[in-house]
């Protein structure tokens, strides 16, 4: 037998891109379970339909680009995009909304830029923002959580998705929305008077965030990503919230705990900000990247026109990631700090 001639290293570690993606999918499960518990089957239906569309779009794009469809589909990256976007979409969204969002994510944000690894913007967030700007009405309709309103069943969820015309949606403003529009009540009174507030934040939302935090912590334990970006984001968000808490006055931006456990905070911190392709690379760079996302999230939530801000904050910082990378190149062994002049 002829001897194989290849260069070192000959050994390879156990990690594979496919495994990274599968781990991320697995880590979303607790969050999806809690979302389903509080808001019904809407999110699950989103994910199922979204995954089908995503795989179809991915296969189509790979075929058009002349790539090995089977080989690249196996990396599961399209599924991750579908899961992330569908978790971010309001439950009971119509099928076409999901399809447009997924197509924007997979085709526009990913394959137009050269496919996995080459996209400068987070595909799921591009899909989300395309929808938010194009269909603001459908994108801001959240179902009331269990305990506040009636939670629809699986059949109703399917009906909402595939026969949206015949479905009568029950919607309610999210806690972030309520807080943003409040300018007369002290926070204490707002909490008493509004049905959807729970102990620290919105009913259901608290647990959704804690579930995503748990999933993220597991990914950290699995060393899928480093702590730098998510922790920096959460820290800067909490810090700003603490600075502008204002003792809970009517002009308060909300308490740090409220911000940490509201909307897409934890989901964003552990599943969006950590997207390696579109974030800064060096550890110092990731600290800066995460911290600035936290600042933007708080600013947009409190001052901006949109109730939640993760998507915009992340996309803006995606722009800045190469710039951050340029200035945070780590000191190489045997070089002096600051020796590298950019």
């Amino acid at each position: 037998m002829a001897l194989m001639r290849i260069t070192s290293p000959h050994a390879h570690g156990p990690m594979s891109t496919q495994r990274v993606m599968q781990n991320v999918l697995l880590a979303t499960v607790p969050g999806i379970v809690v979302l389903t518990h509080f808001f019904g089957f809407g999110t699950l239906v989103n994910i199922l339909w979204g995954s089908v569309v995503a795989l179809a779009c991915e296969a189509l794009a790979l075929k058009l680009r002349g790539r090995d469809v089977g080989f690249y589909l196996k990396d599961c990256s399209a599924l991750v995009t579908a899961f992330l976007l569908c978790i971010a979409l309001p439950p009971y969204a119509p099928w076409w909304l999901i399809a447009v969002g997924i197509a924007s994510s997979i085709l526009l944000a990913k394959h137009f830029y050269g496919g996995l690894g080459y996209n400068p913007f987070n595909p799921a967030m591009v899909g989300y923002v395309v929808l938010l700007i194009s269909f603001p009405l459908q994108m801001t309709q959240w179902a009331p959580p269990r305990g506040v309103g009636e939670v629809p069943g699986l059949l109703e969820a399917l009906q909402a998705c595939f026969m949206p015309a015949s479905y009568d949606a029950v919607t309610m403003a999210t806690p972030l929305d309520v807080l943003r529009q409040n300018n007369s009540l002290l926070l204490e009174d707002l909490w008493k008077e509004t049905a959807q507030f729970g102990r620290w934040a919105g009913i259901g939302w608290e647990w959704v965030n804690i579930a995503f935090l748990a999933g993220g912590a597991w990914l950290l334990y699995q060393r899928i990503f480093t702590w730098h970006a998510p922790v920096a984001m959460l820290a800067s968000l909490a810090l700003l919230a603490a600075l502008f808490y204002d003792g809970g006055s009517s002009a308060s931006g909300g308490s740090p705990l409220f911000h940490l456990l509201s909307g897409a905070t934890m989901f964003g911190a552990f599943f969006i900000v950590t997207d390696p392709v579109t974030s800064a690379v060096s550890l110092r760079g990731r600290l800066i990247y995460g911290a600035l996302i936290g600042v933007l999230i708080y600013t947009i939530r409190v001052r901006g026109n949109y109730p939640d801000a993760v998507a915009f904050a992340v996309l803006i910082m995606n722009f800045a990631a190469p710039f951050i990378d340029h200035y945070t190149q780590p000191r190489t062994y045997g070089h002096k700090r600051g020796e590298h002049k950019p």
Partner: protein
């Protein structure tokens, strides 16, 4: 307890060391044929000193070092030299190189005088002598690179070495050669360490050993018990055994980029090299064998062998129960940094620490690479704190300046990045290829720079020669003019006809055609400005390029640019001054040029005549007086002859009396002159 430092990154691949340490070191035996490469070290290959057909003894020098960074090669066993030719050698490129082939006779007979130079009390030998003996024993770093040990130990005078480090890390998976050496031959290593300490006189001597070798640690600790050598244990992590990493672990210091360990007061040696140095000095034996691990699932009895240098790998593998059918690739070294060998006939050399014969299941063929998702695992694993994913990006795009900016050349090619890459990207391969390409570009650039400098020097030389010629011509002309003027003013009656002619021509020229001359002067100045500016532009471009590449000769280029700038300024000033000065005269010239000139050709003809006359006079002036007198006489005689001929002609033709009289008188004058000239010549000759 000594403080241990950590280095950035690193990985924990499966160690797979247990397979080969179950059995003690065994002698692999004398193979029927030894193939001994002339270059088993970094540096110039050795030069053969034996002939085909010659019988050699074990330990006999068969090739002598060439140059400073080189070591000799010895016969590993006794036998007959059968060939000196190119054979496949273990090298990453898989190429062939000159080898000496010995058919062994099985007697394994030592050179009779081997061991004569054995000196157990080495303290009495001075340092250069010890270094020479180490070199003569053919010792080159046995850890992998094979750098001649004597060169490494010859620290520059004036450099104080604080720490001598003996590297017993052996962080590569599978390899246990140093491990078993330390277990079984600790005394030999310590003996070598004492010689090394004697040579470089450090303040401390550290023996760094990873904590995954408890038996080796125990053996070494026992061996250093009564000495001031320190055994330092530190946590297992790949690549702790890299020289730079080990230095950081033990001392917290980093070797400056592009520098040597001695720059921070450290010298590193391999355990195997220390043992070989002991053999060389204390026993007087050259390096003819080494410990090699033979392991992998394709050998039935993985273990360590003492192998004669030059033993074909096939022979060695057979000793360990090699199953060729199960083996997909044969690796010299470990799975992280080892390289595949092309053939089983390749010989074991001084740097062969391991032969790894894995099965496909053990080290699978790498799957096709997927896209980089910039996960950053590689950056976390990189012991040099590089950003491998960025470098991969730049390597794909062949952005070499960016690669150098990201310190590509600080990559030690340990393979940690490729190991952790979830997308199976062969990162190290990209870096190796990029390094090679950059080095090639640098060489090409140097070459073109060299030829450019040569070309410019030549141009300058030619210009200078031209200028000098021009100046000399002008000086001569001036001198002649001055002389003529002197003559005309001094000898009031005897007006020099040439000087007068010059004056006339000059006056005419000044009045008439100064414009032509000045315009050519103007052109010359303008041309000078343009060409200097062009040179400045190319110099600037070159400087910019050099700065981007961080080349070494930036200073020289900068100096060149400055000089060219100064030249340009000077040229521009000269041009300006000239233009100012000629602003008025040009106007006049333009007006003068319109006048029809009847005697257009006259001045040039006159000029030519003057020039001829001047040249003749100069030629005359150059001659010695005697010669001049003789020439004068000859000329006069010629003139007399022609005058007589004219006179005869005139008489025959019956011309006017006046004419004939004039000719007669001229003949008379010439006869007188000839007499005078003859007299002068005689005077000169007699004087």
């Amino acid at each position: 307890m000594r403080k241990i430092f950590d280095f950035h990154g690193g990985i924990h691949p499966p160690e797979n060391k247990h397979q080969s340490v179950q059995r003690p070191i065994a002698f692999a035996g004398v193979p029927p044929e030894l193939t001994i490469p002339l270059s088993q070290h970094i540096g110039a290959p050795a030069v053969p000193v034996v002939e085909v057909g010659q019988r050699v003894f074990k330990g006999q020098v068969i090739a002598q070092p060439k140059g400073l960074v080189s070591v000799p090669v010895h016969a590993s066993s006794s036998g007959t030299v059968t060939a000196i030719e190119d054979r496949l050698v273990p090298h990453i490129s898989g190429h062939s190189a000159p080898c000496i082939v010995i058919a062994t006779d099985g007697k394994d007979e030592w050179l009779p005088d081997i061991g004569d130079s054995a000196t157990p009390d080495f303290e009495h030998i001075d340092k250069p002598e010890l270094l020479e003996r180490i070199r003569a024993a053919g010792i080159a770093g046995m850890g992998g690179a094979g750098f001649p040990s004597a060169v490494k130990l010859a620290v520059k005078p004036g450099v104080q070495i604080e720490t001598l480090i003996l590297n017993g890390t052996e962080c590569e998976p599978y390899i246990t050669a140093d491990d078993v050496l330390m277990r079984e031959r600790a005394a030999q290593i310590i003996g070598g360490a004492r010689i090394l300490r004697h040579i470089i006189n450090p303040q401390e001597t550290l023996l760094g050993i990873e904590d995954n070798k408890p038996e080796a640690l125990a053996a070494m600790r026992a061996a250093v018990a009564d000495t001031d050598l320190q055994v330092v244990e530190f946590p297992t992590k790949y690549p702790s055994g890299g020289e730079k990493q080990l230095i950081e672990i033990l001392t917290g210091k980093q070797v400056p980029s592009g520098g040597l360990p001695s720059d921070v007061g450290i010298v590193c040696q391999n355990m195997g090299s220390a043992a070989a140095i002991y053999d060389a000095i204390v026993l007087g034996r050259p390096l003819i064998s080494r410990i090699t691990t033979v392991t992998g699932d394709a050998v039935r009895e993985p273990r360590n062998f003492e192998v004669l240098i030059g033993t074909p790998m096939r022979y060695l593998l057979q000793q360990a129960g090699y199953e060729a059918g199960k083996n997909n690739r044969l690796i010299m070294g470990g799975p992280m940094m080892g390289f595949t060998v092309p053939d089983h006939a390749v010989p074991v050399v001084k740097t062969t620490n391991c032969l790894l014969a894995p099965t496909e299941a053990e080290l699978p063929t790498p799957p096709p690479a997927q896209a980089c998702i910039r996960c950053g695992l590689c950056a976390q694993a990189c012991p040099a704190s590089l950003l491998p994913q960025q470098m991969f990006w730049f390597a794909q795009g062949k952005e070499f300046d960016k690669l150098e900016e990201h310190n590509l050349f600080d990559c030690i090619e340990c393979g940690a990045c490729s190991y952790v890459c979830p997308s199976n990207i062969p990162l190290v391969q990209y870096y190796r290829a990029s390094k090679a390409e950059i080095l090639k570009l640098r060489r090409d650039h140097e070459k073109s720079e060299h030829s450019r400098l040569r070309f410019e020097a030549r141009q300058e030389r030619l210009e200078r020669a031209e200028r000098e010629k021009e100046e000399k011509r002008a000086a001569r002309k001036q001198a002649a003019e001055a002389k003529a003027r002197e003559a005309s003013s001094a000898g009031s009656g005897e007006q020099d006809p040439i000087a007068a002619a010059i004056e006339r021509a000059k006056a005419k020229k000044a009045a008439q055609s100064a414009g032509e001359d000045s315009s050519s002067e103007l052109e010359k100045l303008e041309k000078a400005v343009v060409s200097t500016r062009k040179r400045l532009d190319t110099a600037l471009a070159k400087l910019r390029e050099a700065k981007d590449q961080g080349a070494d000769h930036i200073d020289a280029l900068q100096a060149g640019v400055d000089k060219t700038q100064a030249k340009l300024r000077a040229a521009e000033e000269a041009l300006n001054a000239y233009q100012l000065a000629n602003a008025s005269t040009n106007g006049q010239n333009d007006a003068g040029a319109e006048q029809p000139t009847s005697d257009d050709s006259a001045p040039s003809a006159a000029q030519a005549a003057i020039e001829r006359a001047l040249a003749a006079r100069e030629a005359e002036a150059a001659l010695p007086p005697q010669e001049r007198a003789r020439a004068n006489l000859e000329k006069l005689q010629q003139r007399l002859a022609s005058s007589r001929a004219k006179l005869a002609q005139s008489r025959d033709a019956g011309e006017a009396e006046k004419v004939i009289e004039a000719l007669e008188s001229s003949v008379e004058r010439l006869t007188e002159k000839i007499a005078a000239a003859k007299q002068q010549l005689q005077d000169l000759e007699s004087a």
